[in-house]
């Protein structure tokens, strides 16, 4: 049984479908990143899993309880960082905020430890209303971690943060994951997804169009690797020359089968120096899959149509 089970989940806002029947299961200690353009259903999914929204159809179970009715015993094992509104009392200090929310849990983490870890120790007596955006975000994360959650939902946790704050939050999420905490994180930041995620759920228009590892996502997008080298002598074989981009003695060759193409190059007697092979990035794969999904669903063996014949 997964820590999270989602079956044919649908959500309709009036006549507008926000989720069109998504299904997935998340196991203990999984690191799941939910990707998708604005309006793809990421936040709706998290809101349903948090019990804040009632699904129109389908069902979801969180830590064994069906949403939206999650009992306190389940809620105390969950943590949340919300997308836009902090949900904190502006009239409290940082220390008081942790004291108040910590009072809801049977065995909260000690506030000084949390403040130290999140770089807020010197802000403990500052009013929440006077915190910077990054500090408030870190305090939200501290509140989410107070109850020692087994499962944490993070809805764009580093959106609009400066690089320093972003790195601090990434390090903390990695530390949590290393300790076995399951997380489900939504983001538009592909670097964040690549660094933190071991599994990607890609949503588009309320449909789940990909579910797998970032590496599988890159492979499934069917995008070419970029073979780059300096040519010292001879000409390129005609079959490869049509695809190559040549700038002086520098050649870049898009290739779906880099090993085969390199062998062909070497076999044709082309002198190769400074050879590098760049795989497609997660961002390129993301864009390709979203573009492809507007035409058809991807099967695991799908190859980008424009490159399939090469």
């Amino acid at each position: 049984m997964g820590i999270l089970e989602v079956s044919d989940l649908r959500k309709q806002y009036g006549s507008i479908p926000a989720l069109k029947g998504i299904s997935f299961t998340v196991g203990v200690a999984e690191r799941v990143v939910v990707l998708g353009p604005n309006g793809s259903g990421k936040t709706t999914t998290l809101d349903i899993l948090g019990g804040f929204l009632r699904p129109t159809a389908g069902w979801a179970r969180v830590l064994g309880a069906y949403v939206p009715h999650l009992p306190p015993g389940v809620r105390r094992q969950m943590g949340f960082v919300f997308q836009d509104k902090a949900g904190l009392y502006p009239e409290l200090t940082v220390r008081e905020t942790l004291e108040l929310f910590g009072g809801y849990y049977p065995d909260p983490l000690p506030a000084p430890e949390l403040l130290e870890k999140l770089g807020l120790a010197d802000r403990r007596d500052r009013w929440v209303r006077n915190l910077s955006g990054g500090e408030r975000r870190r305090l939200e994360l501290a509140v989410a971690l107070l109850g020692r959650p087994r499962l944490i939902f993070l809805d764009e946790p580093t959106a609009s943060l400066d690089p320093e704050a972003r790195l601090l939050i990434w390090a903390l999420i990695e530390e949590l994951a290393d300790r076995g905490v399951t997380f489900v994180l939504t983001t538009h930041n592909l670097e964040e997804a690549r660094r933190l995620g071991r599994r990607v759920l890609l949503l588009r228009g309320g449909e789940l169009i990909f579910d797998g590892s970032p590496q599988t996502m890159i492979a499934q997008a069917g995008l070419p690797y970029q073979i780059s080298f300096r040519r010292t002598e001879a000409t390129l074989p005609p079959a490869l020359a049509v695809r190559a981009r040549v700038e002086g003695d520098r050649v870049t060759l898009p290739s779906l089968r880099p090993d085969e193409d390199l062998m062909a190059l070497r076999g044709s007697g082309v002198g190769l120096e400074e050879v590098s092979i760049q795989p497609p990035t997660l961002e390129e794969a993301y864009l390709a899959l979203l573009k492809g999904a507007s035409h058809e669903h991807h099967s695991p063996n799908a190859v980008a149509p424009s490159l399939a014949g090469q």
Partner: protein, 246 residues
């Protein structure tokens, strides 16, 4: 993770949450001013206008003081909490929402009672109203029913509107007519139908109950029934509204 420890009991949570909600209310300068300073200012101003009828003025302003905490305080507090995402945050914790709402109600009841006592104290010590402990004991039915009416309708407004500013407009648009219409009716400033309508509004009857208690008279059945009617209606609507996710 220590899973053997129990979640704090609802009663303990309620006591702690009430303390926090009271503290938060008192840190809101506008709420504190309009609950504790505004009614005495109204009373001081009005007592100069109303001459010998200090008793009815004090009673009505005491009702206003209770309304500021119970009605305005609850309505704006809940709407504001929703607007900044606090209610959603609280729903993500093990704190049952019913405990949070009950704590807000308890904090407003406590502060409303203090505001009412402050207004009556001003009447007694500042304006020479003869008040004794027996008068305060007689206040209890009016206080309880009055708070039930104002608090339940405060919950209704708080659950209806999405933002604190909308709650503020709605509170102003309802509270001041509730307060002023009976006064205008008493002074013959309203047409007959409007005066009849004003006679059904709750604040006037709460004022009458407070007035009777201050005079040491018996409690009138009609004001009690009117307040009871408003309280039941408010409680039913509030319960229906609050049973949905806030």
């Amino acid at each position: 993770m220590n899973i053997t420890r129990q979640t704090p009991s609802p009663l303990r949570l309620l006591a702690s949450e009430t303390g926090w909600q009271t503290r938060l209310y008192l840190r809101d300068r506008a709420a504190t001013f309009f609950t504790f300073a505004f009614p005495p200012l109204v009373l001081l101003f009005w007592s100069r206008q109303s001459g010998p009828d200090v008793l009815s003025a004090t009673a009505l302003v005491a009702a206003l003081a209770l309304a500021m905490a119970a009605y305005a305080g609850l309505a704006m507090g809940i709407a504001s909490a929703r607007e900044v995402g606090l209610l959603k945050r609280l729903r993500s914790t093990p704190l049952p929402m019913v405990v949070h709402i009950a704590a807000r109600v308890a904090a407003c009841a406590l502060l409303g009672t203090l505001a009412l006592a402050l207004t009556l104290g001003l009447g007694a010590f500042g304006l020479g109203l003869p008040l004794g402990l027996a008068n305060f004991a007689g206040l209890l039915p009016g206080l309880v029913l009055g708070f039930a009416v104002l608090g339940s309708w405060g919950l209704v407004v708080g659950s209806l509107v999405r933002t604190a500013s909308a709650a503020s407009y709605l509170v102003n648009a309802t509270l001041f007519p509730l307060f002023l219409l009976p006064v205008a009716a008493q002074r013959g400033m309203l047409p007959e139908w409007a005066a009849a309508l004003a006679s059904l509004l709750p604040i006037q009857h709460l004022g009458l109950l407070i007035q009777a208690a201050l005079k040491g008279d018996g409690i009138g059945l009609y004001p009690l029934l009117v307040l009871l009617g408003w309280a039941v209606l408010g409680a039913v609507i509030a319960a229906r509204r609050l049973s949905r996710p806030l």
